[in-house]
């Protein structure tokens, strides 16, 4: 592996508090040196075989980390594979992704987890996985957290479904707390959302679609927080609840209060939830159908407020590829989900940085250091010397429009086709290897 020198860029590494001109040397897959411009002259003089990336006017940041992606392998490789999904991740600036377990079969065993993480799957970026919290994600009996943890699990989730029963969720939180991993919850009280295909409200009424209420999300968040408090009091453990894709102002305020109370709650927000509202469903556009659904503008603004005030710990895409024939169905029959890996950075910079004045450093924190922290990834999400050589180089000023046809993902189900993006990825480097060149 040859050395990579990234010169003349603006290095933004929130974890080490750096935001300024630095040159970066990657060697043997790690960050070998971070120096003020010119500081690597000696290295440059000695090295002739090293790759040099001129990052003038570019931001050089830790590779992005996404704690919530669906790679569809095994079982649904017509939608996506680990190879194509991680290629899309690389194109979006991500160097680490965490695969959800709702594959076919559900990833609920050590054998399944090891198969998924095997190099033979051809992952282009670093792949981690959260296996199912319960067998078959049926919500009844928790999986073997200890064994799965030893096999590389970074958390546990029944994503796509909630762990509905109080007793089972409590068991999961206790088991995960004893090994220091989060339980990642899809907060939806499915007893309230049968037959629903979008957000409840005037738009759903007009379209004649049954709507998911704010309450359906809030009830599960509320219940889970109550369980955390109860476990801290009675079991002497400190469980970590990670709330996936928060979409309502109500759930956001519950999380804000729980954090103030000192409970170990983290949460993520997806780019579509801070960018779009349920109006985007338009004439039944199935590419605007996902779960949780796009909400109203007050909810969207509450997501932005949560991102701005620190209630939100990270941005996660919930990248959920589906084949065209599946989305070309009646709205109520089409599957939930949109792709997101290649549009996340562009939307975060457009909406949060350009639109709301959030600093690039803070955007990077929400997309690298903090998500890495949620799943306790050592030496990722930062460019400190000795860390993994996971880097994204992007032009923060570039405005461009996303073309779904050119996506690396096998699926093109996105409401952002033709949408404006801010910030263009010029290079993605994973453990010292260039995995994408823009």
């Amino acid at each position: 592996m040859s050395d990579i020198l990234i010169l003349n860029g603006r290095l933004v590494d929130p974890a080490s508090g750096v935001d300024g001109e630095r040159d970066l040397l990657l060697r043997d897959g790690r960050v070998a040196a971070v120096e003020v411009p010119g500081g690597l002259k000696e290295v440059m003089a000695k090295e002739t075989g090293s790759q040099i990336i001129d990052a003038a006017r570019m931001v050089v940041a830790p590779g992005l980390v996404d704690v919530h992606v669906h790679l569809r392998e095994p079982g649904q490789t017509y939608k996506e594979s680990i190879a194509t999904g991680t290629a899309a991740a690389a194109a979006g600036g991500f160097t680490t992704v965490v695969a959800m377990p709702n594959t076919v079969p559900v990833n609920d065993s050590v054998a399944g987890l090891e198969w998924m993480l095997n190099a033979a799957r051809g992952a282009v970026v670093k792949l981690f996985a959260m296996p199912a919290a319960t067998f078959g994600s049926m919500g009844e009996e928790i999986t073997d957290f200890h064994k799965l943890r030893r096999a590389g699990a970074v958390g546990f989730t029944d994503d796509g479904k909630p762990v509905l029963h109080d007793r089972v969720m409590r068991e999961a939180l206790v088991a995960a707390a004893s090994i220091g991993a989060p339980v990642s919850q899809h907060a939806e009280d499915t007893r309230l959302t049968g037959g629903c295909s979008m957000n409840s409200g005037p738009v759903a009424f007009r379209l004649g679609l049954r709507g998911m209420t704010v309450q359906a999300e809030a009830r599960i968040v509320e219940r889970d927080i109550r369980l955390l408090r109860d476990i801290e009091r009675h079991d002497g453990l400190r469980p970590h609840l990670h709330v996936q894709h928060v979409s309502t102002a109500k759930a956001m305020s519950l999380i804000r209060e729980a954090k103030a109370e000192g409970l170990h709650v983290t949460c993520e927000v997806a780019p579509h939830h801070f960018t779009l509202t349920d109006e985007a469903v338009g004439d039944y556009d199935t590419n605007a159908k996902m779960n949780p659904p796009l909400r109203n503008d007050a909810d969207r603004l509450a997501m932005i407020a949560g991102l701005m005030d620190g209630t939100v710990d990270c941005i996660a895409t919930d990248h959920a590829p589906h084949a065209l024939f599946e989305k070309e169905q009646e709205f109520e029959r089409a599957p939930n989900g949109i792709t997101g890996l290649e549009t996340a950075l562009g939307l975060a910079l457009r909406v949060l940085h350009k639109g709301q004045g959030m600093t690039i450093s803070r955007v990077m924190e929400l997309m690298s250091a903090q998500p890495a922290g949620i799943v306790s990834l050592e030496e990722r999400g930062t460019l400190r010397v000795g860390s993994f050589g996971d880097v994204v180089v992007f032009d923060p000023a570039a405005e461009w429009s996303f073309d779904a046809k050119r996506s690396r993902s096998k699926s093109k189900n996105t409401p952002f086709d033709g949408g404006t993006m801010v910030g263009k990825v010029m290079a993605t480097i994973c453990e010292g290897r260039v995995v994408y060149r823009g």
């Binding site: 009424f205 379209l207 679609l209 004439d283 039944y284 169905q329 109520e332």
Partner: protein, 352 residues
């Protein structure tokens, strides 16, 4: 010979191309009727004028209007009035119709709506009349086929031809309304009360979207479980009329010139608990209630009626009732909509 044929094909393709470009608005073939929401008042007037014109025609002239044109009736849900009236309307205009229903077609084998539509198009269908249990299905079909699609009722969303026939019924029956003058003030001062299961009703949605365009005030009435506040989202700032909610049926009736009753859609209640006895006492249009609060109001019902539940049989059969008129106007309006869908008759030059 071969060369001639080739030229002829080219000419034909080119013509078809031009036509396609011209006849499309926002991705849907012109002449489609997917929702009443985007119908301008002038277009409503044109549909009604054409309805009148077709009604006045001699049967032998009428049968030439769509002679040989091919219309597919694609019905994924049971229907008496709508299906029969579209079919009779098409036949009276000379069109060839074929009925495809989900019970007796490849739909049962899992064929998608898109493929079903493409198959009908390949067989020569020029227009598809669609009844479907899923809201929005007509948009999918119109997009997939590029054909004119008439929404004959989609899930809980809309039933545009029903709203237009209701409109024509009101124009014909309501005293003091000038049926020959269709504009934003035609229904100035008219209150239309729609009562019952608004939540599940595509008829209520279409009427609430349509009538305020002509200046009507629509008063929605029903218990919160069947009429959420979200229903106010149906009102548009562009309309001269407006939409309000009044939960007390007696108070609503007092203000009504027109009252539309809706069936409780038990098949769509989905777990919603409803005390029918209580519902009947609060919301049934009984003889006594009508006599006490709105003795002159025009009584309408899109059918199917459940006599003794939302409406008393005596009221349905009484002098205020326009129920059978509605059915007759349905046949007339659907003729006009089919002519419009195929760009014939008074719509020949319409390219909007």
């Amino acid at each position: 010979m071969g060369r001639n044929r080739c030229c002829w094909l080219n000419w034909w393709t080119e013509l078809a191309l031009i036509e396609r470009v011209e006849r499309k608005i926002s991705g849907y073939a012109a002449g489609s009727l997917l929702t009443v929401a985007d119908l301008p008042v002038a277009e409503i007037a044109a549909i009604l004028a054409e309805t009148d014109r077709i009604e006045r025609m001699a049967a032998e002239d009428r049968v030439r209007m769509l002679a040989g044109r091919r219309i597919a009736l694609l019905f994924y849900e049971s229907s008496t009035r709508t299906r029969t009236s579209f079919e009779l309307a098409a036949k009276s205009l000379g069109a060839i119709t074929t009925l495809v229903s989900d019970k007796s077609s490849s739909i049962e084998k899992g064929e998608s709506l898109k493929d079903t539509g493409l198959t009908l198009r390949a067989l020569g269908a020029e227009c598809i009349v669609l009844r479907h249990a899923n809201s929005g299905a007509p948009y999918l079909l119109a997009k997939a086929t590029g054909l004119s699609v008439l929404n004959a009722g989609d899930g809980m969303h809309e039933h545009p031809s029903q709203a237009l026939l209701d409109l024509r019924t009101i124009l014909a029956r309501l005293p003091g309304v000038d049926g020959g003058r269709i504009d934003a003030t035609t229904f100035a001062g008219v209150t239309v009360v729609i009562t019952g299961d608004i939540l599940h009703s595509r008829v209520a949605r279409s009427n609430t979207l349509l009538l305020p365009k002509l200046g009507a005030r629509v008063l929605l009435c029903g218990p919160p479980g069947l009429l959420p506040e979200d229903a106010l989202g149906l009102s548009s700032n562009d309309d001269t009329g407006n939409v309000e909610i009044e939960r007390d049926f007696n108070k609503a009736l007092k203000q009504a010139q027109v009252v539309m009753m809706l069936r409780i859609q038990r098949e769509r209640l989905a777990g919603l608990e409803l005390d029918l006895g209580d519902y009947i006492s609060r919301y049934q249009l009984s003889e006594e209630r009508l006599a006490a609060y709105a003795p002159k109001a025009l009584v309408m019902h899109p059918g199917p009626m459940i006599r003794g539940l939302e409406i008393a049989g005596e009221v349905a059969d009484g002098p205020n009732s326009a129920v059978e008129d509605q059915v007759r106007h349905g046949l007339a309006v659907r003729k006009s909509l089919l002519v419009r869908a195929l760009g014939a008759g008074g719509f020949e030059s319409v390219t909007v």
